[in-house]
Symmetry: C2
Subunit: 239 residues, 2 copies
């Protein structure tokens, strides 16, 4: 079987491998799974990471990080066995449609804008987004209080805890804010600390819980320097 020989050879090299195959897949590790026969794309990277993709959907149906791989042949079928720690993955190869391997060179890192951290940066520079009388004091306060996005105070001298969310504010965001405020109250022995949730939108239940606890909502969106441009005009190289 030509394809199988190619695959074996590639597994003993330092190349990335991609192949198409009809296969059955078994996984045992943090959980256990079985995937009946079907045609999939398998990607094995240079660090041993293996990803199996079905022909639709964005998430791999099976995967393993930094594993070791070997082909085991029994009777008339071949099995690709992958191991990593206590986890194992077995791909029963029913038919290999193609195999391609190559050593890839890529040291580039993604430059991303619009994260929650960027929101906090923006608020530090433009405190009026939170309140006209808000003065930020510190960012990423990672002491015993937890990881507070932005900590500040208002004109009355009250401490203000700001939690940022880049998308929807939900119940979990409110309990997170509540945890920070309670912990600070307890640790500092202060009774009145304001809590503010800053996000582009918020669910109804989250808003209610926020208000029940005396916290506040501010509509703030993550910075997105191209958002006002016509995206059809976007060109590579403008970054």
């Amino acid at each position: 079987m030509e394809a199988l020989a190619t695959l074996k050879l590639a597994l003993n090299s330092n190349k990335s491998i991609v192949f198409g195959a009809e296969c059955e897949i078994l996984y045992s590790g943090r959980a256990e799974s079985f995937l009946p026969a079907g045609e999939r794309i398998v990607l094995i990277k240079q660090d041993g990471t293996i990803l199996i993709h079905q022909p639709t959907g964005s998430v791999p149906i099976n995967y393993m990080k930094e594993a070791t791989h070997k082909i085991v042949e029994k009777e008339d079928v071949s099995i690709l066995k992958s191991n990593s720690g206590d986890e194992l993955l077995e791909i029963l190869l029913l038919k290999i449609h193609f195999v391609h391997s190559k050593q890839f060179e890529d040291g580039a890192k993604l430059q991303l804008q619009g994260s929650e951290k960027d929101m906090a940066d923006m608020i530090m520079k433009e405190p009026k987004l939170i309140d006209p009388d808000f003065t930020p004091v510190s960012q990423e306060e990672q002491t015993k209080y937890g990881f507070i996005d932005v900590l500040g105070k208002d004109k009355k001298g009250n401490l203000v805890v700001v939690e940022c969310k880049r998308y929807n504010g939900d119940l979990s965001a409110v309990t997170q804010l509540r945890r920070y405020v309670e912990k600070m109250k307890e640790t500092l022995g202060v009774k009145s600390i304001r809590g503010i949730l800053a996000c582009p939108k918020i669910t109804g239940n989250a808003k209610k819980m926020l208000e029940d606890w005396g916290f506040e909502y501010r509509q703030v969106s993550p910075p997105n320097f191209m958002e006002k441009k016509d995206k059809s005009q976007l060109r590579l190289g403008e970054f």
Copy 2:
């Protein structure tokens, strides 16, 4: 350029495509990103989903779900432009190393065991895992109280709320449990409701917060029927 022609042809078919290319990538949508030149593997699936993988790591560096794609040629370079809703992705193709396309057939669904739901099922069948005097009443209670994994009562007639986590119990798990218990107390007008967090292990801070709130921890692991077997003996077809 042979490879580019092959790619164009494949984009007009209903095939999955995988190709290797040196490229620069720009994304604008929910956030914005730029990835400088490097060699990557690009996967375009039959539903239009596109994934770009660097040669290491398990997560795609750029991606888009169910997008439409076209090749735009300007001067001496070609750009693969992908669109989905308000999002866009541009891949500047500096060099295409290989292209492979094929229509894949796969209707199989993953059969998975050991989820949080399986933990709840197990507790329903074996309540003594929680407490000798625990009697489960209902599962997945998704009414006004929230989505409670297992609801039951003890011999004294107290309501007991059980929250399961398949891995580590953390602060967020405790606040989730707290939210359910508080909501039930408020809705039912009952003062004493027990809250139990069931998970294989728990962080120190989570344990402390749990105890501060009068809740309890039970060490329970998700069911894993093969876990006691010697995994090296594992064979496909045993599922």
